[in-house]
Amino acid sequence: MIKVLFFARLREQLNCEGLELDCADLSTVTDVHQHLLQQYPGWANFLEDRKLLVAVNQTLVKPQHPIAAGDEVAFFPPVTGG
């Protein structure tokens, strides 16, 4: 299993803080993204935003980053702190 988290505007748009996914067939962040789009078609408008960032185990990564059981994968909008 992997843990998927959503933050800020994206969390509100999806009305979901996070979920758990069976990762047997998921090898990269892109696979996770595709899986979410298939499972939740209503999320397409928000998850297909090209500006979204993704972190695996709390480090920013690129879409081709590998996924392994136990990983924490977070999707979120560009950051606006400071």
Partner: protein, 151 residues
């Protein structure tokens, strides 16, 4: 040292801590970011700051390590507040000490530029027209990018 906290911070106390017992730090730069009333022509009454617990601390530690690898720094301090803030409240403090001012100025600016584009904080503005998530600004990414070009 980094702190992510709801509580306010005391700049004089942070200055004292950055300089206590150290006679090598000829330069101290302290930056404080505050909640301002007008943002992109919207009348702001307050802010809500959300973050990604765990990743925030990790990202700030990485940013500090990067600054330490680039400049001769003696002490570094980052404080970022989360939760509900009102007009004029302090949001963020970056403090660095160095033997030399050029290093201290550059490092403080780098820390802010990287914090604004790499650390997982998000601002939601409270305005008379409702609550709005703040959009990331292109100019912040441009500011952060110039350090990469110099690396």
């Amino acid at each position: 040292m980094i702190s992510v906290q709801t509580a306010d911070f005391d700049v004089a106390g942070e200055y004292a801590a950055l300089t206590a017992g150290d006679v090598d730090a000829g330069a101290v730069v302290l930056f404080v970011g505050r909640v301002r009333e007008l943002n992109l022509a919207r009348q702001v009454t307050g802010l809500l700051l959300e973050h990604y617990p765990g990743m925030t601390e990790k990202a700030l530690e990485e940013i500090l390590a990067e600054a330490r690898s680039r400049w001769q720094l003696i002490r570094c301090r980052i404080i970022h507040r989360i939760g509900r803030l009102t007009l004029g409240d302090q949001i963020v403090l970056v403090g660095v000490t160095s033997p030399h001012r050029e290093q201290a100025f550059a490092a403080a600016e780098f820390l802010m530029d990287y914090l604004k584009t790499r650390a997982p904080f998000w601002k939601k503005e409270m305005t008379s027209d409702g609550e709005f998530w703040v959009d990331a600004q292109e100019k912040d990414e441009v500011s952060a990018q110039r350090w990469k070009d110099q690396a």
